[in-house]
């Protein structure tokens, strides 16, 4: 076998393969596609949170020529099922007549017309009649179950994790052994993904087949949903990802809904149709991060060791089940934090309300449970009078320790390394008191945070998905990577080109990563869960190696044994035609998970991170400025340090935004601030020069040692920032977000604390 070249392109800041297209305007997002003859769609939505759809009236005085109207009746008429298939089939694509309206902005009917303006005008002349019912608008009301939305108790899913005890009585016995118990209640708010490209999809039909192209993370999710909705087999629908302007989880499940709508419109209109959301509609109707309330008890021994952890997590799932069980699962699996503790009880519930469904957002439940435990650990350090960072270093999980599910940590444990990196980077505390440029008193504080994030799917998820990827030498002599992992800005295509290139001794620009389309690439699983680089990248590495071996064997048989791949590829392609190697996921050895008891190896491996934030608070306006934010992240191996740092920086600012700035306001079940003017996200003015320390403790079963990085930077910085606010003002803030008005509302308390100190 030919000696393959060492990992040349791996570990280098190779420019993105799609960089030039993106800086020249040549990259075409879905709304940029020129589809001759295409009409434009619009969605008629509910204005009530809960009710029954009695009728859909078309204004008799409106001119309906050149307008197509679609209702739920069109779905069954064509042999399809009115469902958006995901985990369950409880969500309809369109509310049927006589069916239940479950949330404001739920889709009821669709229109298409030759221009966008005409479609929007026609939409105003479609008038749903809905008999309103009492709505469930918070999790307490959901749990009272006076109004039933799901089953008898409105609980979509419940998980219990027990470590070191048999039942609740035994748990309470253990907790009673604590020297002191810290209790807290930690509500965290919804968060809008706010990708800058709004959601959108286009469809056309040809010979009875439906072709969809759009902004999405998971082409095969859409593909599966369309098979049920359109009543066709896998060949009947082709789903292609267009260049996608950010996702962050927001384009994980919702694109199936838009695909359903635009496919129905295009079928009825008999021509291509584009359905592009405007910003207000996107904020109001699509999924967001689950609001969550965690009740947390932390039992401490006299010396500060953790005796017992008790967390009760309740998430607002919204009107349909969608991905909520999986989000809750990740939330509870991270709820005990990366700390040594012999006795842990975590109870998680996600409940039905009449909010639009909440869904995937970077971190996927973990940020909601990280904030509570990191506030609790901070309170413990303060109570004990010890340095918060040193306290975390003392309690951190290390190799040989077990997590809340009993998973023994044996490899790639970067806990000590990331904490050390933060200790080294910390530097002196800035002066506590200052005066702003405008003469206002300023108070400074410093906060830290320590957290972990499981890479890849939970439990046996990766085995179940059994993702596949192909690396091929085409008949024309090109090397192609074929996977359904989408590049949504995170750099997947570049990373794959580097990994395949490294295995074949090729420069990354000589590897073509095929645009994901369900008729061209195998199902590698969805582009979620920090799994793209680690899991699918691992498949790409194996497939590329297999291809290299095949070609080397051919070279050997043809008198060119030992020649590099690049030199023999063209001749091999000419002789053999296309050579494609497809590999399927295989779990690392020793990974066992028991879904029934929620014990075992919850994830193949964890990423580890620690963060330090310095804030300055203007005591007149209560505005918080993040003066410094350092995050150290153990990524296993940075295949492309520039891209990895970019991922961490972006995730960090989203986390700081969630902690201090962003807020989604619901009023009677409707998003009350559905515009970028009111639903703000961080701007240049809000962003400090984020500092990132890459720590590499290799994962033996990942490509070149890499593990997940996409989500972990979202988990911790909000807690670090709010810990810093607490440090500055000397009073607790146990909520996300901490906005200036949150601080102002407690002025008396912190003013008193400040005068005392």
């Amino acid at each position: 076998m030919a000696e393959l070249q060492p990992a040349g392109p791996v570990g280098r800041p190779v420019p993105r393969v799609d960089g030039v297209a993106k800086v020249t305007g040549a990259a075409h997002y879905v709304d940029d596609l020129d589809l001759p003859g295409a009409w434009h769609g619009a969605t008629v939505r509910s204005t009530v949170a809960h009710g029954v759809l009695d009728a859909v009236d078309l204004d008799p005085d409106y001119d309906w020529t050149d307008v197509v109207v679609v209702t739920a009746a069109d779905i069954a008429a064509a042999g399809g099922r009115n469902v958006v298939t995901l985990i369950e089939e409880d969500q309809p694509a369109l509310v049927p007549l006589g069916g239940r309206v479950m949330h404001v902005d739920e889709a009821i009917a669709l229109v298409a017309a030759p221009t966008r303006a005409r479609a929007l005008e026609a939409r105003r002349h479609v008038r749903p009649r809905i008999s309103a019912r009492p709505a469930v608008l918070d999790t307490d009301a959901a749990l009272r179950a006076e109004v039933k939305l799901y089953g008898d108790d409105n609980v979509f899913k419940r998980f219990v994790i027990r470590k070191g005890h048999g039942d609740d009585a035994a748990f309470e016995d253990a907790m009673a052994g604590a020297d002191r118990i810290i209790e807290g209640v930690y509500p965290t708010a919804a968060q809008e993904q706010m990708y800058i490209e709004p959601q959108g999809m286009a469809a056309h039909w040809e010979d009875g087949r439906c072709f969809l192209v759009g902004s999405m993370q998971c082409p095969y999710y859409v593909h599966k949903a369309m098979k049920a909705l359109l009543g066709c087999d896998g060949d009947g629908v082709v789903v292609t990802q267009a260049v996608t302007g950010g996702g962050f989880g927001g384009k994980e499940e919702y694109p199936s809904m838009i695909a359903a709508h635009v496919a129905l419109l295009a079928r009825k209109a008999g021509r291509p149709v584009k359905l592009i959301y405007d910003r207000g509609e996107d904020i109001a109707a699509t999924t967001k991060r689950h609001p969550c309330v965690t009740r947390h008890r932390l039992g401490l021994a006299a010396d500060g060791a953790i005796v017992a952890i008790d967390a009760d997590v309740v998430m607002d799932g919204g009107a349909y089940l969608t991905l909520s069980p999986v989000v809750l699962s990740r939330g509870v699996l991270h709820a005990a934090g990366p700390y040594r503790c012999p006795v842990v009880r975590i109870v998680g519930r996600v409940v039905a309300t009449n909010h639009p469904p909440h869904g995937a957002f970077r971190g996927f439940g973990a940020p909601q449970t990280t904030f509570p435990y990191e506030r609790q650990i901070d309170k413990a350090a303060r109570l004990l009078g010890v340095d918060p960072l040193a306290y975390r270093q003392r309690l951190a999980l290390r190799p040989g320790d077990t997590t809340a599910t009993g998973q023994e940590l044996t490899f790639s444990v970067g806990s000590e390394a990331v904490l050390e990196a933060i200790a080294r980077a910390a530097g002196p505390r800035p002066a506590r008191d200052a005066v702003s440029a405008g003469g206002a008193p300023v108070r400074r504080g410093r906060g830290v945070c320590f957290y972990f994030h499981g890479s890849g799917f939970t439990g046996a998820g990766e085995q179940r998905i059994a993702g596949r990827a192909t690396v091929a030498l085409t008949a024309a002599g090109d090397v192609e990577v074929r996977s359904s992992s989408t590049d949504i800005g995170q750099g997947a295509a570049t990373i794959f080109a580097q990994i395949a290139g490294a295995s074949l001794g090729l420069a990354p620009e000589r590897v073509r990563v095929v645009d994901p389309s369900t008729d061209k690439v195998p199902d590698s699983g969805p582009t979620v869960a920090s799994r793209t680089c680690m899991v699918v990248g691992g498949l790409v590495e194996r497939a590329a190696r297999a291809l290299g071996t095949r070609i080397a064997a051919w070279a050997g048989e043809h008198g060119r044994g030992g020649a590099p791949f690049a030199e023999v590829a063209a001749a091999a392609a000419a002789a053999l035609g296309e050579v494609a190697e497809t590999v399927q996921y295989e779990p690392p050895p020793g990974i066992e998970w028991d879904d029934a008891t929620y014990t075992g190896a919850a994830y193949p491996v964890f990423g580890w991170a620690a963060c330090l934030v310095d804030v300055a608070i203007d005591l007149d306006t209560c505005e918080v400025t993040v003066e410094r934010c350092v995050q150290a992240v153990d990524v296993g191996k940075a295949i492309n340090p520039m891209i990895v740092k970019g991922q961490i920086e972006g995730g960090t600012l989203q986390a700081l935004g969630w902690g201090l700035l962003e807020n989604v306001l619901y009023q009677d079940g409707k998003v009350a601030n559905a515009s970028m003017t009111n639903c703000i996200v961080p701007t240049f003015a809000d962003a400090p020069d984020l500092e990132t320390v890459l720590v590499e403790v290799p994962y033996p079963y990942g490509p070149h040692g890499a593990k997940g990085v996409g989500e972990i930077p979202m988990d911790g910085p909000a807690a670090a920032a709010i810990n810093a606010v607490v440090d500055a003002l000397g009073v607790d803030f146990d909520v996300v977000p901490v906005l200036p008005e949150t601080i102002a509302a407690r002025r008396d308390a912190w003013d008193a604390a400040r005068r005392k100190s």
């Binding site: 993106k22 020129d34 990708y195 800058i196 970019g646 920086e649 972006g650 995730g651 989203q654």
Partner: protein, 166 residues
């Protein structure tokens, strides 16, 4: 120049060096004209309400939001879009710096960001990091955390790249 009955109005523009003559309704925005009539889809629409900056183009050299600009209000103007930044097939130094520094992730904010940066560096060729922050403050990016965008613009402002900013 506005017709009283809302019928089409003829305007003359120079777009990336080419003369363009179009009859447009009075409510037509520059973003619509560029994207739909001229197929210059590098002008992105992230909000259509003046909040995100993705639609930023240069109008007579000034960075302006195309989604809020009525075509009839800029008759005679010179427009520069991202499609016109390359000179003789070579990337503009800012384009090259965005690629080299990883300043574009999903890329949707990138064209607007580039044009704001072009306007900034024309006015202030040696802009500091804080001046870059202030100069680009109207452009949102949700992917990058802004660090690498500032790095890229600063590299051009400091002349780290072989070509000076134009």
């Amino acid at each position: 120049m506005r017709s009283s009955d809302g019928s089409l109005i003829e305007v003359h523009l120079t777009v990336n060096g080419d003369a363009v003559r179009r009859a447009v309704p009075p409510e037509r925005t520059l973003a619509e004209l560029l994207r739909e009539d001229l197929l210059l889809t590098g002008c992105k629409q992230g909000c259509d309400q003046g909040d995100c900056g993705a639609c930023t183009v240069l109008v007579d050299g000034r960075a302006q939001l195309a989604c809020l600009t009525l075509v009839v209000a800029i008759d005679g103007a010179t427009i520069e879009t991202v499609e016109g930044l390359q000179q003789r097939g070579r990337l503009h130094p800012l384009q090259a710096a965005f690629v080299a520094h990883g300043a574009a992730q999903c890329g949707f904010c990138t064209p607007g960001m580039l044009l704001s940066a072009v306007a900034l560096l024309r006015a202030s060729p040696r802009a500091s990091r804080d001046e870059i922050r202030a100069g680009l403050a109207g452009n949102l990016c949700r992917c990058t955390g802004y660090v690498k965008i500032i790095d890229a613009v600063e590299a051009v402002a400091r002349g780290d790249d072989e070509e000076p900013a134009p």
